[in-house]
Amino acid sequence: MATAIETQTVDLAARFPGKVSAESRPGYSGFVVEKESLLEVAKAVRDEFGYDLLAALTGVDYIEQNKMEVVYHLHKTTGGPKLIFRTQADRVDPIEIPSVTPIWAGAEYQEREAYDLLGIRFTGHPDLRRILMWEGFEGHPLRKDWKEAFYEEEIKPYKSRWPEGKHTYAEFKNPFRDNLKFPPNFDPEKYEPEGEKDLYSSLERFSIKSEGGLKTDHVVVNLGPHHPSTHGVLRVAVTLEGETVMGLKPVMGYLHRNHEKIGERNTFLQIMPYTDRLDYFNSMSNNFGYAVTIERLMNIPVAERAEYIRVIMAELSRIQNHLVFIGMLINDLGSMFTPAFYAFEERELILDIFEAVAGSRMMCNYFRFGGVARDVPEEQMQKIKDLVFDRLPFKIDEMERLLNQNEVLVGRLKGIHVLNAEDAVHYSVTGPVLRAAGVPYDLRRADPYSIYDRFDFDVALRHNGDMYDNYLIRFDEMRQSLRILEQALKQIPGGPINSQKPNYQVKVPAGEAYGRVEAPKGELGYYVVSTGKQNPYRYHVRPPSFVNLTALEKMCVGKKIQDFVALLAMLDIVMGELDR
C-alpha cells in the first residue's frame, strides 16, 4: 500500500546539484532543499515538473537537532504521486525561511499558521500576522519547549491517574486557582489590542481602489464573530464602498484549542476520538484520514470487510454533509426552514445508522488501525440498503425539484462567479469548489486510497465556476456517492473487521507519513512524524475548510456584500476544523 504512493517520480537532487539533496533519514522521503535556493527550486517544481497544487505546508520543531523544518507537500492536479520537499533553518530566533506565496498563493494562511504556532518567519510573506492565536500572545504553542496551561506531563497516560489516582482538579494545584500568566510589563487594565490595528492596516493594503466616479468613503464592517451566516464563530472584516466589497480579511481562532498540541500529547490511538471533533459533520471521514495515515506509517493491511465498511460510512457521511450544505446554503440565502428541514430528515436517517453502528450520531470514533471498531449488524446493513436503494435517490430528486429551478434561488446564484480554474489551483482550493471550477481533481480517482480504485464512478465536474454550478455539483456528488454505495453494498464480503488484534498501545515505527482522503469539503490531510514512541512527535492536520478559506478574499473582492454570505456558504466551512 505504501510503496506505490510514496514513490518519487522526479529527481530534484539531480536537477539542482548542490542545492537539493535526497532525504536520508530512515522513514522519511523526499528532498531537502537549501533555504537560500528554496524559491528557485519551488518555481521549477511548479513550472518544470508541473506540481501546481500545494497541498500542505507545515513546520516541525526538531528541538534535539536544533533545527526548524518546513515541509511542503505538492500534487499535480492531473493526478499521480505527491512530491515532498523540505527546508531547514537553525532553531535560533528569528527563524527565517523564504515564503512561497508568490509561487503558490495557497501557502498564505498555512504559512501564517506555521508562523503563529511555531514562530517561523516567512520572509516575503505579504501579510504575516498571527492567525489562530491573538496578536500579543506570548510564545509559539507548537514548539516543543512551550507548555500549555495546567501542563501536567509531556505525554499521556499521566502517572497521577493510576495506581494512586486520587482525584483532584488541575487548578487546585495553583494557589490562585487559575493559570493566568502575563508577560512582563503587561497591565490587563490598560490593554488595548494591537492586533486590530494590524488587521485594519492589512485591509487597507490589500483592498482594491475604486476607479473614477464620485469620491466615496470606504466603510469597514466587521461581520461576526456571531453572524448567523458564518456557521460558527468566524469574523470577517470587510471594507465596503456602498455595497461592493473592496477588501476582506477573515479573523479566526475563536474556537482554537490547539488540536495538534493535544495530539502530540496523546498516544496514537487516543487521537482517534479527537479527530471526530475536527469537521464534526463528518467524523467518519476524519477517522478515515487519520486511520489511513497511521496505517501507512505502520505498514499494516486493512481487513477486507472493514475496507468496504469504511467506504460505506464515508460515502454516507458525504451524502449527509452535502444535504446539510444545501439546507444551510438556502438558509443563508434567506429561506429559513423548509429545505433545511427536508435535508435534515434524510440526514437523521443516516445518523440513526451511525448511532446504531458506531455508538454515537456525530462523534463516531469508529475506525481503528487495521479495520473498524465493530461490525455492522445485519439489521443495520439492511437499513443502509433500504436507504441507498429505496429512499435517498428519490429524496435527492425531490430536493432538486424543490429548489433547482426556483427563480429566486437561480437569480441569486447563477452568474455570480466564484473562482476560475487557475485561481482555484493557485489558492490550493480542493473539493467541490475546485471541481465546480472545471478541474476534475478528486483524490478518490487522482490518488486512490483504500479501495476506491475498485468502484465505477465519475468525478463530478462542472465548468462555469459560478455559484449555481457550485450548488449543483453537490447533487452530482451525492449521486456518485450513491453509485459507490450501491456497488460497495453488493460486493461487501464477510470476514473479520480488523486485521490486527485489539491493542491500545500500537507500535508505530519511526518515520513520517502524509495521508489524505477526499473529505466532503476537500482534501483532508494528516501529517504525522513518529519517533517510534507511543505518541506522535508531530501531528498536523490539513483541514480543507482552512485552506479553502485562503481564496475567500479573491472570491469576494469586487462583489456585493450580500453575495459574500452565499460565497462563504459555498466554501462549506466548519469552524471545528478551521480553528482546530
Binding site: 491517574r161 489516582g165 482517534m272 476520538p273 423548509t338 465493530r374 429551478q405 485489539p502
Partner: protein
C-alpha cells in the same frame, strides 16, 4: 414562464403537506397508533417514513440502539448481598482514556502492603469524559461499560466516585442484551475449555 420553478417547488411542499394526513389517516383507519408507541417511532425512522417526522421529546423518545454510548459505569456482581466490582484496578481504562478523566486508587493489603486486585477508589470526571468508549472497548474484564442514561445534567461539577459508578450486572444485561449474551457465552466456553483441561490429565512430557 417566470415562476414555474417556484410552483414546481411548491408542488413538493404541497405533496409533503398531504402526506402528513395520508399517513395519519391510514394509521388511524387500521387502528394503529402513530404517536407515542414504539411501533410508530420505528416507522417514523424507517425508509418508509413520510409526513410528520418529528419525535416529540420528552413525551416520546427515539429508541436507543444497543451500541449507543454515553459516560461509563462500573459493573458489579452481587455476591452474598455484597457488591463485588468486576474491576481489578489494572488501570488499562485510565491509560487508554484520551482526556485522562479516569482516576483509580488500587487497594493494598492492610497487612502486607502488597497491591490487591480491586479498586479502593475510582473516579470518573464526567465533565471531561468525551464518550469515546475506549475504556469499555479495551477493558479485559468487561468491568467498565458505556451507559445509556443521558439525563445527568447537574448544577455542580460531576465527579463520580465508586459508589455512584457501580451498577449491577442485571442493568448491563438489560441495556446491552446482545453484548452481554455474547460475553457470557465466551466466558462459558472459556470455562468449559479450562474444566476440560483440568479434568483430563496433562499430556505427559515427551
Amino acid at each position: 414562464m417566470y415562476g414555474l420553478g417556484i410552483l414546481k417547488g411548491l408542488s413538493v411542499t404541497w405533496k409533503r403537506f398531504w402526506d402528513t394526513y395520508i399517513d395519519d389517516i391510514s394509521w388511524a383507519l387500521t387502528g394503529k397508533k402513530r404517536y407515542r408507541t414504539e411501533e410508530g417511532i420505528k416507522h417514523r425512522s424507517s425508509k418508509n417514513t413520510r409526513g410528520i417526522f418529528t419525535v416529540q421529546y420528552p413525551e416520546e423518545r427515539l429508541i436507543t440502539p444497543e451500541e449507543f454510548r454515553f459516560v461509563p459505569f462500573l459493573v458489579y456482581e452481587e455476591k452474598d448481598g455484597k457488591k463485588e466490582p468486576r474491576c481489578t484496578a489494572c488501570g488499562i481504562c485510565s491509560k487508554v482514556c484520551p482526556p485522562q478523566c479516569i482516576w483509580i486508587v488500587r487497594s493494598s493489603d492492610p497487612v502486607t502492603g502488597k497491591p490487591v486486585s480491586t479498586p479502593a477508589e475510582f473516579y470518573i470526571d464526567m465533565d471531561i469524559c468525551m464518550n469515546c468508549g475506549f475504556c469499555a472497548e479495551y477493558c479485559p474484564f468487561d468491568a467498565i461499560k458505556m451507559d445509556h442514561d443521558i439525563d445527568i445534567a447537574s448544577y455542580g461539577r460531576s465527579v463520580y466516585n465508586l459508589e455512584k459508578l457501580l451498577k449491577p450486572v442485571s442493568y448491563y444485561a438489560e441495556i446491552r442484551p446482545l453484548n452481554y449474551n455474547a460475553e457470557e457465552e465466551e466466558r462459558r466456553a472459556k470455562e468449559a475449555a479450562k474444566a476440560a483441561r483440568t479434568a483430563a490429565p496433562a499430556t505427559p512430557a515427551a
